[in-house]
Amino acid sequence: MRPIEPVHLRLHLRLRSLKSRLAAWVILPSLMIFAIDLAVSYRGSEQIATLVQQQLLHGAAAMISEHLTASEGAYEISVPPAAFELLRNDFRDRVYYAIYTPDGRLVAGDGQLPPYAGEIGSESETFFLTRLRDEAVRTIAYAYVIPSSPQGESVITQVAQTLRYHEQFRDELLSSTIRRHLYLLAVTFFFLAIAFRWMLKPLVEFSDTLKARQPGSLEKLDENDAPSELEPVIHALNNYAQRLNHTLQSYEKFVADTAHHLRNSFAVIGSQVNFARRSAGVDPAQREVLAAIQKTLGKCTRVINQLLMLASLDQRKKAAAPTRKTPLAAVVASVIEELAPLGLQKDIELGVESLDENVSVAAPERLLRELLTNLVGNAILHMNKAGHVSVSLVSSGREATLTVADDGIGIPEALREKVFERFFRVDESNPDGSGLGMAIVKEICDSIEARVTLSSSAENRGLRVEVRFPQGR
């Protein structure tokens, strides 16, 4: 049974389209009517062709019989050529004739035709099909009473003709019927195709309208222009968009509220710790604890900010707005400046290789700053010894490439794609990593249509992150 399944499935799938459903319901009945009518016409054609042949046979038989004379058991005949002329045609049908007396004696004609064995009333005729010399023939048996004979002698005249012309005639009748049907079907299909296009045009236009909408657009669709059949669909879509909008709004509000509360709480703890650290009379152990709390606090704040960043990026994807261009070189310089103290603490030298001042990127400055902070910050955080972090920004016509390269431990090739996942950490033991930095990088890149790739620096050392921004237009 297994090989049948795909066929069944395909048929099922094809009928999912409205067009094919409609077509199926128009075409299948048309074909059925066609088939029935064909069967009926075949019978009709056969009947007509048979009737014609029978008429001719009858004519021939009557003509031959009329030339028969009889007197006292002796028969005389001169067969008229016109009788055979009647049956002549272009198809070289064979014609046989034979005249028998009622008791089976051959009076004239061809002995190949056996005497008629059935019952037959006088002055009547019967038709039957038989075979002669391996070919089907239609035969007439015609009982004839010779009018000139005083005893009322009678004979049975048989005339037989092969079916070549009969068949040809029947087929011609049939094929003309078929031709008529085909014309009709063609016309039906033609107008059906036009009707489909015309009928489904609003649907196609509707789907084009939907496709042309901005991703994330929750604007209402106009119900007035659409055909009445589409109205429920549009209504449902609008309803769905409205509910989605509501959900998004409450999600946004939730994120904003969470951000507010968390930051306020951390601000309180931060102030408290700062106050304690600055107060005199704290012993070294307490000082150490306070410093540690402050450090943890800083880390938590960073993670919270990163999570909020991710949340806001999720939002951005849903409602991307066209943005102005931001010069990137200034952002690079300012981020490096900001991270210089962190680099100093870890004995890491920051710098730029080349900085194309003309590169602008169609993205909000906030996102670009976040992108760079994560890239350079990540490079610094994951270097466990003194080293270098280099940033370069070059433009090559169609795209600008930002590269952040370090000479740290790098990331094994197999793990390079995984670092873009949220909370994935290459080195679980590094207390400074949150596992969110590269996820943010990836999502920012996705949201501004930039591409980010990881590789290793020269001599297979360190990590090299390349971000390519589309340029121009």
Partner: protein, 224 residues
């Protein structure tokens, strides 16, 4: 220096007040926009720290009221919202600076200082970075109360750096600061001055950071 802290979170307000008082600021607290506007009518302050999410009205509204009645006291917005558009909006409304919560107290104090400096219309005579101080009147660098012995060239370089602590100063700008002393300063020479300066300020709680390709930057540095 007298500050007005407008913050509806009483706990945060309490601790920020204590912190700022520790740094010798006189702080008054307002817990709502209405309170703040009332206080601003009768009292005069050197600066206002303004939260944006207040129970009775938005911080933006408070700010607008202030500016509408020509109250030009410097305003530093301290808020938990970080959208760039909002920052731009507030600066348009007349805020002087903006910090996102949770704020780093050192950052807050630095911003306050520069705000106050700008407001008084004259440069603060005493510049500092970490434990390194520079008196712009007497032109003397000092650390822990002791003057640092610097050559005129080192002095010129360090002065250029301490005017923008935490900001990159390009080699070109540094070379220009030496222009009055030398006609032409080679990069090599500049590197030597930086090297010497680094040694001299080693124990002053400040560092000169090289940002390769960008320039130099003076930053506070306290090894843990």
């Amino acid at each position: 220096m007298k500050l007005l802290l407008v913050e509806d979170n009483r706990e945060l307000s309490f601790w920020m007040t204590r912190l700022l008082e520790q740094s010798a600021y006189a702080v008054e607290q307002a817990f709502s926009g209405g309170d703040a506007l009332q206080l601003l009518k009768t009292q005069s302050y050197d600066a206002v720290l303004l939260d944006l999410t207040l129970p009775d009205m938005k911080g933006q509204v408070v700010l607008k009221h202030m500016r509408d009645r020509h109250d030009e006291v410097p305003v530093l917005i301290v808020s938990a919202q970080d959208a760039l558009q909002e920052i731009v909006g507030h600066l348009d409304l007349g805020a002087d600076d903006y910090l996102v919560k949770p704020v780093n107290i050192l950052e807050l104090e630095a911003r306050l200082r520069s705000l106050l400096r700008r407001a008084t219309g004259k440069a603060h005579p005493l510049l500092s970075c970490g434990g390194l101080c520079y008196d712009t009147n007497s032109k003397i660098f000092s650390s822990a109360g002791k003057a640092l012995p610097l050559t005129p060239r080192e002095h010129a370089v360090l002065e250029a750096l301490i005017r923008y602590p935490g900001k990159t100063v390009s080699k070109k700008d540094l070379a220009e600061s030496l222009f009055t002393i030398e006609d032409c300063v080679s990069e090599k020479a500049l590197e030597i001055y930086i090297l010497r300066l680094r040694k001299k300020i080693e124990n002053a709680g400040a560092r000169i950071v090289t940002l390769r390709g960008l320039g130099y930057m003076l930053t506070a540095y306290a090894p843990d």
